[in-house]
């Protein structure tokens, strides 16, 4: 486990600056909030001299057992040597404000979260899938996605033409089984 050289207690700073409901634990440095309030948090972290969280080192998402999604941010301040983790509850519409206007590193990481979980980041300049094909219909890191039953061509990222070809092949095989020739 990493020790952070100059970890501070931000309770006071947050209570005077953040005008919404949140939970903050100085021992673990985890801040829990609703995703709708993220723009206020971003502005505070990026602009406040006492925080100066210039380095967005990680951004990812997770699904809770009850099906709710969370977006997880990890910041570090290279000037002040402190860190913060924020866990934001995603609303049912799966729309989350993008962090790209403050940290460019969010660009690819938000694309990854969209690719894997289907969470849309409003204000992202170029929200496309990053690992999988655009034609893929699923979001693999959701718990509802099971690994084994992936079989059809569309789910493997095939184009319309390939799907038509595979259908024709299957129909032909159904007519005359391969072993009979």
């Amino acid at each position: 486990m990493n020790q952070v050289l100059d970890q501070k207690d931000f309770s006071e700073l947050f209570s005077e600056s953040l005008k919404f409901e949140y939970e903050y634990d100085p021992a673990t440095q985890i801040l829990r909030l609703d995703a709708a309030h993220l723009p206020e948090l971003f502005a505070l972290l990026a602009n406040d001299e006492r925080l100066a969280m210039g380095y967005l080192r990680d951004l990812t998402a997770k699904e809770q057992p009850e099906g709710e999604f969370h977006v997880v941010y990890n910041w570090a301040s290279i000037e002040h040597h402190h860190t913060l983790m924020a866990v934001a509850k995603v609303p049912g519409s799966l729309d989350v404000p993008s962090a790209t206007q403050y940290w460019e590193s969010a660009n690819w990481m938000e694309r990854e979260a969209w690719d894997m979980f289907g969470i849309r980041f409003a204000g992202h300049p170029d929200l496309r899938r990053i690992y999988l094909e655009e034609t893929v219909s699923f979001f693999p890191l959701r718990k509802s996605f099971k690994v084994s039953p992936v079989q059809n061509v569309r789910d493997l990222g095939g184009s319309e033409r390939e799907i038509a070809k595979a259908k024709a092949k299957a129909a032909k095989e159904a007519k005359e089984p391969a072993g009979d020739r």
């Binding site: 990493n2 080192r57 990680d58 057992p65 570090a76 590193s105 690819w108």
Partner: protein, 381 residues
């Protein structure tokens, strides 16, 4: 009879009558210079790169999804295939994430062995980078020098773990097997000889005027852009940011060792090159100190074969060969992770390639890509 030249003289044509247009050029996905399966689409104006877009995902294996169905002990050999040139760092990443959610006292001897292995791995990885980077910049000879030396480290790893590439050596509680006196003897011989070898390499290549002309003031990444883009490791330090997790967010027993952090001035390809060379010297120094201080005792704590963790979430990170290797583990208190996310350093470093290449010649693209030191298996997960 001499041929009479009847065409209008091209030199008399004025340049603004010539039509120019931007050209989109594709590199890869299968190309020997892209270090794996990577596709780059460059928009060029003449020979100048206007913008560049990397397309990744050709090696995506769904490792994070795969991890959710596996026990922690199975995650170690799974993830050490991710960055196959720095397997020890991947082993340590999984181990440190699991240990952070366990009440576990790791024996001091195990921590020392880990540091020796991690630093040797850093040297091996940087040597491989030197080999391929020299190829990218047009020199073939350094490949043979570098791989000859890397072979010695791989032999050491084979003595310790039994494997040459994918070690599965560092595990929760300590390491898999103790190191032997024969290993120590071979290691001290290597540590004695290695600085001389580095001098030889620098004589061979660093002072080469052709190389310096190609690498200096090429692919410049400013300090502010580097931090904002989230790059890490030698790329970040090459841009003048003294940020090394071994010193700035220390883990394991790194605070006990004395070493320096090399920092670049210009943020160009040459700075990244020099930072990596200096890091190899410093890694040798750390291994020497760890060998001198190696205590007696257990090399592994008592841990059940398939360990359980506390419920909770943790983000651990370490300074791997390519930069910050982070791991976000969410556990519900069982033998398997609920969510296992890895932040590979190469991923965000490659994301900065567009910024580094804009305004430079297309011919510089490959040397800039080589200076980032990506492993596509690591990027694509």
């Amino acid at each position: 009879m001499a041929h009479r030249y009847t065409q209008p003289d091209l030199m008399e044509l004025r340049s603004d009558d010539l039509e120019t247009q931007e050209l989109t050029l594709n590199v890869g996905p299968q190309h020997p210079s892209t270090h794996g399966v990577l596709r780059l689409v460059a928009v060029t104006d003449g020979e100048i790169i206007k913008s560049l877009e990397p397309h990744i995902g050709f090696l995506h294996r769904g490792m994070e999804k795969n991890s959710e169905g596996r026990e922690y002990r199975q995650l170690i050999p799974l993830w050490d295939r991710n960055d196959y040139l720095a397997s020890m760092h991947m082993d340590y990443m999984t181990t440190s994430a699991v240990e952070a959610l366990m009440d576990l006292e790791v024996p001091r001897r195990a921590e020392y062995i880990r540091v020796i292995m991690l630093e040797l791995q850093r040297i091996a990885s940087h040597l491989f980078w030197f080999a391929s980077f020299a190829l990218d910049s047009g020199a073939v000879t350094p490949l043979f020098y570098a791989l000859k030396e890397r072979e010695k480290i791989i032999d050491l790893f084979e003595m310790a773990s039994g494997a040459r590439l994918l070690y599965n050596y560092i595990r929760p509680g300590g390491v898999r097997a103790d190191i032997t006196p024969a290993f120590m003897e071979k290691l001290s011989k290597f540590i004695r000889e290695f600085p001389r070898y580095l001098d030889e390499c620098e004589q061979l290549y660093t002072g080469n005027a052709i190389f310096i002309n190609r690498a200096r003031d090429v692919g410049v990444l400013t300090r502010e852009a580097a931090i904002n883009l989230g790059v890490s490791g030698p790329v970040l330090r090459g841009s003048g940011v003294a940020w090394d997790l071994r010193k700035d967010e220390p883990y394991s027993i790194y605070p006990e060792f004395k070493f320096d952090i090399p920092v670049g001035e210009r943020g160009d390809v040459l700075d990244r090159y020099e930072v990596r060379f200096y890091e190899m010297r410093m890694a040798t120094e750390i291994v020497r100190q760890a060998m001198e201080g190696l205590p007696e005792g257990d090399y592994v704590a008592k841990v059940p074969p398939s360990p359980k963790t506390k419920a909770g979430e943790v983000y651990v990170r370490q300074e791997a060969a390519r930069g910050e290797l982070g791991c976000y583990l969410v556990s519900d208190g069982g033998r398997k992770p609920w969510r296992f996310h890895v932040r590979p350093a190469s991923y965000l470093n490659l994301g900065a390639l567009d910024t580094m290449c804009r305004g430079y010649l297309f011919a510089d693209l490959i040397i800039i890509l080589g200076s980032i030191d990506i492993v596509l298996g690591d990027v694509d997960k």
